[in-house]
């Protein structure tokens, strides 16, 4: 009989590994803390968008979904993830960018952060596989800053919007380039997925055009070798004295009896914070915390730092005519002052907050129109900055406990001098864009001093060459263990430059799945 795997987490990483290995003939059990979440997400779309109803069935209870925070991060990190079958990527923005070669070498190239134990060239074939897996639409033809690729994008790009083109034409003579955005939305039908019809509320895409991990999870279940356990909390890993993983201990969220599930290979794919927490909750040889021989679990943690700005124009720019993402600029990812400052990504967003199906306390129709009308003239610009870990950014166990009596995760996060320098850089670039584009009024969230992670939680179980510098190796295998793997953004060495981390997470997951399959066979 083929060996059996247990995967903790059914999100984009867990689903990719479950899909790959169940199709290779292995038995896979996937454990998900959250509830079922129908796919395609037509039901959620109807409820939220057509009927403005937030279904409590899809909300995890607070006493299993809390993260305590200290430092200067003011948001709730648990609200930046979704505990449902399919995980956070059931509602993600689906921007799928490759890290740049220099992002893997920031220490040797720029003198900050650490180098990864693998290079862009090592990962490039898996970026191609990841793009095929997610169904990425895109082109590099209009992006002079894109890294080398060995295969074209699987799907053609989403064009710039009419107003993006006007903006791009205005900015080009001033030396600023806008280009299209690669994204896991189907520009045309792909595999079993319908082509995008621009419903414009992609968070709840009703037809599966925007990629959702449930697509591959369902395909894995169809093999008959994959089983999904939802509404269960994995509480710890059971290790033998040699450091080999033997089983998972999990408990249904309804409070029924704790159970043990034996496995030949254990994969943690529970999201950055929860994966760290599970390592800290587990013991080996009676010592608390597995993978902690080098005292690296929970350290080397970081967020991306995002700020949203708004530019006002005299003529209307009609935001939100397309629900996905159109214009970006990667010009500031590898800018000449990198080293002193980090990479910076610019997104020219078109979303407005009026389309998420929430009831707002409007007084009258005229009041609504009065508030909506000015929005036609505002363009949202999102700046996303690289960050890197420091002693003031870490995940540990909290003093507070969940319904099972286990400590929650606690994040301590304080911006560094490098981060403050990046803030200044972001404001500088924002002002440059606003002035070059003829904006007559602008607001920038930096004015309020708030940064947002974008839901990009990275590090905490970073990969490296040995137990002295890291928690896992370049395949995600826990140092000192032959069969426990940790996957996802938690294994990142830095913050994936300033690009969205998900495609890199998927590329690494597919590489890990291939490695596990090869080892087992």
């Amino acid at each position: 009989m083929k060996p059996a795997l247990a995967i903790v987490g059914s999100g984009i990483v867990g689903a990719a590994i479950a899909h790959t290995l169940s199709r290779r003939g292995y038995r896979v059990d996937v454990f998900e803390k959250g509830p079922e979440y129908p796919y395609p997400h037509a039901k959620q779309f109807s409820e939220r968008i057509q009927f403005m109803y937030e279904n409590p069935l899809y909300e995890a209870s607070k006493d299993i979904d809390t993260v305590t925070v200290s430092g200067d991060y003011v948001w709730h990190p648990e609200r930046e993830r979704h505990l449902v079958v399919g995980g956070s990527a059931t509602q993600w923005s689906a921007i799928t960018l490759r890290m740049r070669p220099a992002d893997f070498r920031t220490k040797s190239r720029y003198g900050y952060g650490e180098d990864w134990p693998l290079s862009y060239e090592d990962l490039e074939p898996y970026y191609c596989k990841g793009e095929a897996h997610l169904g990425v639409s895109g082109t590099d033809a209009d992006n002079p800053f894109a890294p080398r690729r060995s295969r074209p994008f699987p799907l053609p790009p989403f064009e710039l919007s009419y107003h993006d083109r006007l903006l791009a034409d205005t900015l080009r003579p001033r030396g600023i380039r806008l280009h299209t955005t690669p994204q896991a939305r189907t520009r045309i039908p792909y595999e079993e997925r319908a082509g995008c019809q621009n419903f414009g509320v992609c968070k709840f895409c009703p037809i599966g055009a925007r990629y959702s991990p449930t697509y591959h999870l369902l395909d894995a279940l169809k093999t008959g070798r994959c089983q999904l356990h939802h509404d269960v909390s994995v509480r710890r890993l059971v290790m033998d004295k040699s450091g080999r993983g033997r089983a998972l201990v999990y408990q249904p969220n309804d409070g029924s009896k704790e159970r043990e599930h034996a496995a030949d290979v254990i994969v943690l794919a529970a999201g950055t914070v929860e994966s760290v927490r599970l390592l800290l909750l587990s013991t080996v040889g009676g010592n608390p915390g597995i993978g902690s021989a080098g005292d690296h679990v929970g350290r080397h943690f970081t967020f991306h730092h995002l700020w949203a700005g708004g530019c006002h124009y005299r003529l209307p720019v009609y935001p939100n005519r397309f629900g996905g993402f159109t214009a970006q600029s990667h010009q500031f990812l590898d800018h000449p002052s990198r080293g002193k400052r980090g990479a910076l990504k610019v997104e020219v967003g078109s979303q407005t907050p009026f389309h998420e199906g929430r009831v707002t306390k409007w007084g009258s129709e005229s009041e609504i129109m009065e508030q909506l009308r000015p929005r036609l003239h505002w363009r949202r610009i999102i700046l996303s900055a690289e960050s890197h870990p420091s002693a003031e950014k870490y995940v540990r166990l909290s003093e507070k406990r969940d319904r099972f009596g286990d400590p929650y995760a606690h994040i301590h996060y304080r911006s560094s001098d490098f981060d403050h320098e990046n803030e200044r850089f972001a404001l500088e670039v924002f002002n440059l864009l606003a002035e070059a584009s003829g904006s007559d009024e602008r607001v920038f969230s930096q004015d309020t001093g708030l940064l947002y992670s974008g839901g990009h939680h990275m590090g905490g179980c970073r990969m490296g060459r040995n137990v002295r510098d890291s928690v896992v190796d370049q395949y995600g295998r826990l140092h000192g263990s032959s069969n426990v793997f940790v996957t996802g953004g938690c294994t990142f060495v830095g913050s994936s430059g300033a690009v969205n981390p998900t495609l890199t997470m998927v590329a690494l997951a597919l590489r890990t799945a291939e490695f596990i399959g090869d080892q087992l066979s």
């Binding site: 057509q50 419903f199 209307p316 009026f354």
Partner: protein, 202 residues
């Protein structure tokens, strides 16, 4: 016969200072927390729960009256199919709505008959708006009528929260966009061509 109260100058000053302190403290407390307390009280009184009545299909007469109320609230010609679908779904799916919609329509019909019309759906736009204003659910209700409603007709606060506010929110996410000049609103399949061209209605 009672004896006159005698206070030493020292005691008198002590009492006066204490009273002044209390008055100052009280004033500070009212200033600091009075607003919150008042709004909390108002919220508790004017934010009743929906109730737990069973879900079920909505009679077509009720749907027609709700759609007529929607037109009255919005005050402009709009496509109404998605509002009717919205009301039917809520009545069928969520507890309390079917009964609330029924009571709302009874109240509107009563007001319409008092105004000489056969029922609310049979009223013209001007009359519908007048009735909605009269019963105080359009948000422009005066303080006095809100207080009257608080005492005699608590259902009006339910109507405001669970019907009027929801209709206006739906409007803001649908027809509001069309009135702004968009071809259609997010949530409808808009295709991948039109966003690359200049807005045709802009």
């Amino acid at each position: 016969m009672s004896r006159p109260l005698r206070l030493s100058r020292r005691r008198f000053l002590q009492a006066a200072v204490s009273l002044a302190g209390l008055a100052l403290g009280g004033a500070f407390a009212v200033r600091r927390w009075g607003g919150a307390l008042k709004s909390r009280l108002e919220w508790a009184l004017t934010d009743p729960t929906l109730g737990d009545a069973a879900q079920g299909p909505l009679p077509e007469g009720v749907v027609s009256a709700l759609v007529a109320a929607t037109q009255g609230l919005v005050g402009t010609e709009i496509e109404t199919t998605h509002y009717a679908t919205f009301f039917r779904w809520r009545a069928q799916t969520l507890r309390g709505y079917r009964a609330l919609y029924g009571r709302f329509v009874v109240a509107l019909d009563r007001a319409a008959r008092e105004a000489g019309a056969p029922d609310f759906a049979g009223c013209g736009m001007v009359q519908r708006r007048a009735i909605l204003r009269q019963v105080g659910v359009t948000g422009a209700a005066e303080r006095a009528s809100r207080i009257r409603a608080l005492v005699f007709r608590r259902d009006w606060f339910r109507f405001e929260k669970y019907i009027v506010r929801e209709v206006l929110a739906l409007f803001s996410q649908t027809d509001g966009w069309v009135l702004l000049g968009y071809e259609s609103w997010p949530g409808t399949p808009r295709g991948l061509e039109s966003y690359t061209k200049a807005p045709s209605r802009g």
